[in-house]
């Protein structure tokens, strides 16, 4: 694994997502995301690298709510990349859309250009009470004021696991748990899968192959923008609408 030919990707089975926010808090914990205070929510500046959107359908009594987790899609043709004047965001050779904090000058062009709204700006210096800083993850930079941040597929885990495997002379399996981003390990219903889309034996590659076919459930979020994301969604199944509405999208 982790050859030069790696293409990290994620498969999200919306049919399993229950909206429990487990992934959201796991991400906060792993990635040193500042505490989202009441004020930040009111200013619409709360930071959630992965978020769970809720959509209403219908009205009482025939009402439905749907959940869909949304994170950086790590697009192969990412709209955020060409607008950065300082190359702080770019696509690397592992298929990831990368944000380099020390290059970022805070123009926020990238956030403006992202159709998925998964980029977040640090309007203030992050602050924690002294004792809570004990929890901060030493593998992840604490972002300072004035820069952009977003989902990294928990690259610190990929780096650490591959490094330690190389040190101990071990082969790293593509579906190993240590490699997974925090959200994937936290998900109680196995909604999220992570792995190398270029490795035909990985779970994500198999799912992608199977579900992106004509009769599969796979789709990309907002395909009309042609962003070619590395995150694949699997449709929610709703049997009550199955017969009445054969077409979709």
């Amino acid at each position: 694994m982790a050859s030069t030919n790696t293409q990290w990707g994620m498969v999200i089975d919306v049919d399993k997502c229950i909206g429990c926010q487990g992934c959201v808090v796991a991400c906060q914990s792993e990635n040193n995301i500042p505490i989202n205070t009441e004020d930040l929510f009111n200013q619409r500046r709360a930071i959630e690298w992965i978020r769970v959107e809720r959509y209403w359908e219908g009205e009482f009594p025939d009402v439905k709510a749907r959940f869909i987790p949304i994170l950086c899609q790590h697009c192969n043709d990412a709209p955020c990349e060409p607008v950065c004047p300082v190359f702080a965001t770019y696509h690397n050779n592992e298929g990831m859309n990368v944000q380099v904090y020390n290059r970022c000058i805070g123009t926020r062009f990238c956030a403006n250009n992202c159709p998925y709204h998964v980029r977040f700006f640090n309007f203030w210096e992050p602050e924690w009470p002294e004792t809570l800083t004990n929890q901060l993850n030493p593998d992840v930079t604490v972002r300072s004021r004035g820069i952009m941040e977003k989902c990294t597929f928990c690259i610190q885990r990929i780096r650490r696991t591959s490094r330690e495997a190389a040190r101990d002379g071990e082969e790293l399996s593509d579906d190993s748990r240590e490699l997974n981003p925090a959200c994937v390990n936290a998900c109680p219903t196995d909604t999220l899968f992570f792995g190398d889309l270029n490795d035909p034996d990985s779970k994500v590659a198999k799912l992608a192959k199977e579900e992106m076919s004509d009769d599969g459930r796979g789709y990309h979020l907002m395909p009309q923008y042609g962003t070619s994301p590395n995150v694949i969604y699997l449709k929610k199944v709703d049997e009550s609408t199955k017969d009445s509405n054969g077409s979709h999208e």
Binding site: D13, D15, K16, I18, G19, C20, Q21, G22, V25, A26, S29, I35, E38, F41, N42, R44, A46, E48, R51, E53, R54, W56, E57, G58, E59, F60, K64, A65, R66, F67, Y116, H117, V118, P129, E130, T131, L132, N134, Q135, L136, P138, R160, A182, N185, A186, P188, T189, T191, G216, L221, M222, Y233, L234, K236, D238, E239, K242, S244, H248, E249
Partner: protein
């Protein structure tokens, strides 16, 4: 002060330079490298270790592994081995870390110096504190001492029970939303003491009534894990979930069909479903005979038509769902939450659980499986929660001066009990209140002496899961980090709760009849007993190896040890012939449904900022108390989102922010439990409102439990408006996404 333009510019320039200098400089501590005096062998700077332990932030403890670097806990993840959660965890377990490093934790024994509740404290040494408590307890008779804990099991339970016995004190277990009714129903329907397990993973059809089992009810992580397989598991077809509830909960949102039932009529709906099933013809069995009263269909008064009109459910729906349920075995019926929180709660739950006999899923794959008693007979499983009626009596005894000492551990009755019990007022007639809490919850605020216990990540312990996974399991909890306040020396800091009780007993010269003189010793002795069983997940050549392995794996379990359970067929329940109508407190316009949120659950998570900031799945609201009200009804009443509304019951009123949404019945308003603490530290103090305080004192008719979903309220706009902190719209709607509507499956 007047300021010229020039002065202003100078000041600006000066402060900008200062900011720039401060920003460019390297923080002083980064210019130092500390070399410690001694370094533990397994601690390598920059390398992480994952230690297995038990999470206790959740009401149903999970097996977790905690990432530790340089002696600090960094991350919690599920323990893949542990039978209850099998590697899964949730937001609550994750946030336990913030409890460990909470800025307002109590770090040493404290004694009150000001008036009670004034919040003035003085530090004192453990020896001093324990001897003061012992001296006071020594003067009292057993009846004058009351010991309130959370429902405790395994070794902590053992020590608590022995301590209460030795003192002759009354022991009460407290939970705000108690399980008394549920446990009584398990006893009557299945003849079980312990909660059974639900095999959601293998069920084909689930009928659930009132229980938000994917979110907060009983063992949500275990159920959610099963749910993943239930939906898209390999080698099975997609399961179907139908949820009957008076509120549109998270489980309701995930159900294939959510059916609104008038509050308190869940049991009748279940009986109507039973009626349809029996009419359709069921294979004869002894259980069926017993349940239906000798095989005759005695449910004439529960026809879908009659029940439908009473419960507000379309009769055709009842018939269709009942047939579907019958045609898709294994079918599982689950009930709880608000369905059991009415004056007829037991009637409801009994009827619901009896459906499992009709679908033939009792003690079957994909149905209900039962839990055996623990492998070591001394160890108690979690006791029944003491009912609300008992606590009301306690409040009476307290105000009458019959209670002289109150010991409270990990329970917050002064927060959770409705105002009308008068327990907070009554507490001023109790001369001694001792709290073992390490945070200033509402009860601890009114204590006289605080003997703070360790945080669970610093502590020893064991857990017998309840509900268990269907076989014998004991979780072992070990300290993953040194106690945070260890540096304050042996006389201050926090201690293990069991050890403190054992020391107290020693000072009081009471024999607890335990085979060790400290808590860890008790655990080690029983580990030895476990090894002698020579079965299960851990076997070892010697005791030391066994002990180490058991801590490494997070516990001991034996997947084959599912025997030794009461025969469920000896339950006493049979279908009733007459309905039992729910009664409500007050006569307001709306029925009030209190509910637990993902983050705060019953209020225990309110002091942790991650949980406060966790959006509620349905409303995405955070940090506040809100009122869910039907969108159209709100329009009629002129209520908009963020309007401060006064919710008034016959017992009092609270103010909260309106959140109108389309998923709730126009007759119902729903308010989350968990805010409105008077204490708990900076993140929870004086935040939001406590809906539990205005509940009517309606009790479940047979068990005396609090019928917390049986209050009616009125709503009135106060004219104020506060922005509701919610996550919704933080990112603009993905309006152009063609998938935002329900996406039908084309392949069928």
């Amino acid at each position: 002060m007047s300021l010229t333009r020039r002065q202003f510019l100078t000041l600006m320039g000066g402060s900008a330079t200062a900011v720039a200098a401060a920003a460019c400089g390297v923080p002083e501590r980064e210019l130092l490298v500390q070399s410690p005096i001694e370094m533990p062998e397994d601690m390598v700077t920059g390398l992480d270790n994952w230690y297995a332990t038990i999470d206790r932030q959740n009401r149903a403890p999970l097996g977790v592994v905690v990432r530790v670097m340089e002696g600090r806990a960094k991350k919690v993840e599920g323990n893949v081995d542990y039978p209850v959660n099998r590697g899964k965890h949730n937001a609550v377990a994750e946030a336990g870390l913030q409890g460990l490093y909470h800025p307002d934790r109590i770090g040493s024994p404290l004694i009150r110096t000001g008036q009670r509740g004034e919040g003035k404290w003085e530090q004192l040494s453990w020896t001093d504190a324990v001897s003061r408590v012992a001296e006071r307890l020594g003067e009292l008779s057993g009846e004058e001492t009351v010991f309130i804990t959370n429902p405790v099991s395994a070794h902590t339970g053992l020590v608590v029970n022995r301590f209460a016995e030795a003192l002759g004190a009354k022991h009460m277990s407290y939970e705000p939303l108690e399980r008394t009714v549920l446990k009584a129903s398990m006893k009557q329907v299945f003849d079980q003491e312990a909660m059974p397990d639900f095999d959601i993973e293998n069920a084909a059809y689930i009928l659930s009534f009132g229980a938000d089992f994917l979110n907060t009810w009983e063992s949500p992580v275990r159920y959610a894990r099963g749910y993943g397989h239930f939906r898209q598991g390999e080698n099975r077809s997609r399961g179907k979930l139908v949820h009957f509830d008076s509120r549109f909960s998270m489980t309701g949102a995930n159900a294939d069909e959510w059916v609104y039932v008038k509050p308190g009529y869940e049991g009748e709906v279940a009986l109507a479903i039973a009626n349809v099933m029996i009419s359709a013809g069921l294979p004869d069995s002894p259980a069926l005979h017993r349940i239906t009263g000798q095989g005759s269909n005695s449910l004439e008064s529960f026809t879908p038509q009659a029940v439908g009109s009473r419960a507000g459910v379309d009769p055709e729906k009842i018939v269709r769902i009942a047939r579907d349920f019958l045609e898709h075995p294994p079918g599982l019926a689950i009930g709880g939450g608000s369905a059991g929180a009415h004056s007829n709660g037991l009637f409801n739950l009994n009827a619901i659980y009896a459906l499992n006999y009709l679908s033939g899923s009792v003690d079957q794959l994909g149905g209900i499986t039962f839990n055996p008693s623990p492998p070591i007979s001394d160890l108690p499983t979690a006791p029944d929660a003491t009912s609300f009626s008992d606590f009301r009596d306690l409040a009476g005894r307290m105000s009458g001066g019959q209670v002289k000492a109150l010991l409270v551990r990990n329970a917050d009755p002064f927060y959770g009990l409705p105002e009308n019990t008068g327990i907070t007022r009554a507490s001023f007639n109790v001369p001694l209140i001792v709290s073992f809490s390490n945070r200033f919850d509402d009860t601890t605020m009114l204590a006289d002496i605080i003997l703070p216990e360790n945080h669970y990540l610093e502590d020893w312990g064991t857990d017998i899961p309840d509900p268990g996974p269907g076989y014998q399991t004991i979780g072992f909890q070990q300290p993953v980090v040194r106690p945070f306040f260890e540096s304050r020396g042996p006389h201050l800091g926090t201690k293990n709760f069991g050890d403190v009780l054992m020391t107290l007993a020693q000072v009081l010269e009471k024999d607890l009849g335990l085979d060790a003189d400290n808590f860890k010793g008790l655990m080690e002795n029983d580990a030895r007993r476990l090894r002698e069983l020579d079965r299960g997940s851990v076997r070892a050549a010697n005791d030391k190896l066994f002990w180490n392995t058991i801590l490494q794996r997070g516990g001991w379990w034996d997947t084959n040890a599912s025997g030794d359970i009461h025969d469920p067929r000896s339950g006493q329940y049979s279908f009733p012939t007459a309905a039992q109508a729910p009664s409500t407190g007050g006569s307001g316009e709306f029925h009030l449904m209190p509910f637990e949120t993902t983050g705060l659950t019953d209020g225990r998570g309110a002091d942790l900022p991650w949980l406060q900031a966790t959006p509620d799945p349905i409303t995405t609201a955070t940090w506040q108390t809100w009122v869910e009200i039907n969108l159209k009804k709100a329009e009629e009443m002129g209520i908009n989102e963020g309007d401060v509304v006064k919710v008034t019951s016959e017992q009092g009123s609270i103010e909260a922010l309106a959140y109108p949404h389309p998923g709730i019945s126009p007759d119902v308003v729903a308010i989350p439990v968990g805010q409105g603490h008077k204490g708990g530290g900076r993140y929870s103090k004086d935040r939001g409102a406590n809906v539990l305080s205005i509940l009517s004192p309606v009790t479940e008719s047979e068990t005396g439990a609090l019928a917390w979903a049986a209050t009616r309220v009125n709503l009135r706009r106060t004219g104020e408006w506060i922005r509701l902190p919610k996550f919704e719209n933080t990112a603009p709607d993905l309006a152009e996404d063609g998938h935002r509507r329900i996406i039908p499956l084309t392949s069928g």
